[in-house]
Symmetry: C2
Subunit: 322 residues, 2 copies
């Protein structure tokens, strides 16, 4: 989206608190003094064979943008393109069932949708959440000294590429499917409770791409600890075997002059850092004095979270990986 | 949508005032005592050659669902599928410019969107409007005695079919484009002011299809006056020449046992009544005692509106055309 739409005039409106010109996860529109809408849309072709699982993943992925901004999802609209001449109807109903379950798990409800006949299937949702306009979490709120947490392991792009090449067993398929279908709900609720100011979710631009956006929007430099990154099982081996999705290359090219990576960092870890994620974790910047307490709260609520870096005073480059 | 999704479980939620199981124009979700969200999404492939005009039409068409329920549009999310290898970028930017202009004309703002690469272009928007939860206008609120108004002339399906077959001149193309790009804003604001209870907008199911939905949801019979229907210029001639879109046939089949049409009604008028409309007018049921005043207000504000029928006590069939 960011790339495609930069050539059209950006929208402005007195109630628009966060627009898409800010490269943030979702738009935010104030409707009264205590409520603002957090809105986002995402849809794509199936990335796993099982339509029910695809529906779960697509919905979790779209909901994640609302969670990244500290919002509570309220409603969803189904976006469907379906080749009804080529695929049996249960493919669609299973997809919608999976998506609907995730919407319900988020405490939201499907209020409508639109489907068209198409050559290739696509599914996703437009999500509306609600947030206190005085407590919106954006990628621009990170402060020097903050500790950076990541709430899901990395490598879904590499693993799904390996799945497409029939290079992984069913156990790994099941694991990565569950990971992508997992909501960022608990981590989001905890960061709201801790009054965190900065977060984003890791998706198509990969870890480094989204970290760059946070560094840029927050006017800081971000230091990452490569050996602290949580990795999905077998992902380094799969990267080593060349299971690198196409998007990783463009992420790397875009970031070439924006990141310095220490020589000691393994080449396959680099691949993981550029790997486009589907329904990845939240990247949360927590003030240092509350970081330990935040970590304990994640653990207490059985939510995954790993300290991966820290926010530093702006320097050149925007990202340092050591 | 109605057809595709009937086989999946319907959503329920205490705040969901109108869901898509009610075959209404948009879903309505209450967020506080005085505000409810009205939400809808629509997107489709280009129906006119000019991308700017296509954008205007697609946006007006989606916004219409919010207007049909008496809502005020607040935000829009762009839904884009674009063959970036086959079409020049200006096609997309012109489409988004046209759509954005209509969103702005509605007083709303584009807060984000999603675009994917696809073989065939599609564009549309997900719209969120706001409505007083105590004053939602649905297709189920029509009462015996109400007078039925239609706010745009009929025949856009027939004319666009003729355009595809190169059978119309530029003047007619311009006229039908303007008609489809026109917002139902003024008529909607007037019906809200008049505290109207029942309305819908005329789109893919054609005049009779949407009238049936209103009759069914309101538990009434609707009488239509064929000679009062406002028609787009040359539409009867084009229908007579066989410019009938595919959707008209399925509309007719679906309604076969639900409508009685007098023998005196011209066959080409019948074609128009089944004709799927893009961004058609509002069909508004106004209490009889306020109908004349309503009509004067439309005229005063330069808004088109034609008396086309009346609501009667439920009988069999649901629709009588005389």
């Amino acid at each position: 989206m960011a790339e495609t739409l930069t050539h059209i005039p950006q929208s402005t409106h007195p109630n628009l608190l966060v627009g898409f010109n800010q490269a943030d996860d979702a738009g935010v529109y104030k409707i009264n003094e205590t409520q603002a809408l957090v809105q986002t849309v995402d849809f794509f072709p199936p990335i796993v064979d099982d339509p029910y699982q695809f529906g779960r993943i697509a919905a979790a992925n779209a909901l994640s943008d609302v969670y990244a901004m500290g919002g509570k999802p309220l409603t969803a609209l189904n976006i469907v393109a379906f080749p009804s001449n080529d695929l049996p109807p249960y493919i669609l109903s299973e997809t919608l069932r999976g998506g609907g379950e995730k919407v319900a798990e988020a405490g939201a409800v499907v209020v409508g949708g639109h489907s068209i006949k198409d050559k290739e299937m696509k599914y996703g949702i437009a999500v509306t959440g609600i947030v206190d306009p005085n407590r919106i979490i954006t990628n621009g709120g990170a402060k020097t000294g903050d500790i950076l947490y990541l709430t899901k392991p990395l490598g879904t792009g590499i693993v799904t590429t390996a799945i497409k090449r029939n290079a992984v067993d069913q156990t790994l398929i099941t694991q990565v499917t569950e990971l992508m279908a997992e909501l960022n709900k608990t981590a989001s609720e905890i960061m709201v409770k801790f009054n965190v100011k900065a977060a984003t979710d890791i998706t198509g631009f990969g870890l480094l791409g989204h970290i760059f956006e946070m560094a840029d929007a927050s006017n800081v430099t971000i230091r990452l600890f490569a050996d602290k990154l949580p990795l999905f099982p077998e992902v380094l081996r799969l990267a080593d075997e060349g299971m690198i999705p196409g998007g990783a290359k463009s992420n790397r090219e875009y970031l070439t002059d924006k990141v310095t990576i220490a020589d000691s960092v393994d080449e396959n870890i680099e691949h993981v850092m550029y790997d486009p994620q589907t329904s990845g974790g939240l990247l949360i910047a927590v003030p240092k004095e509350r970081a330990e307490e935040f970590e304990r709260e994640l653990a207490k609520q059985d939510a995954f979270g790993r300290k991966v870096g820290q926010i530093e005073k702006k320097a050149d480059p925007a990202i340092i990986v050591e």
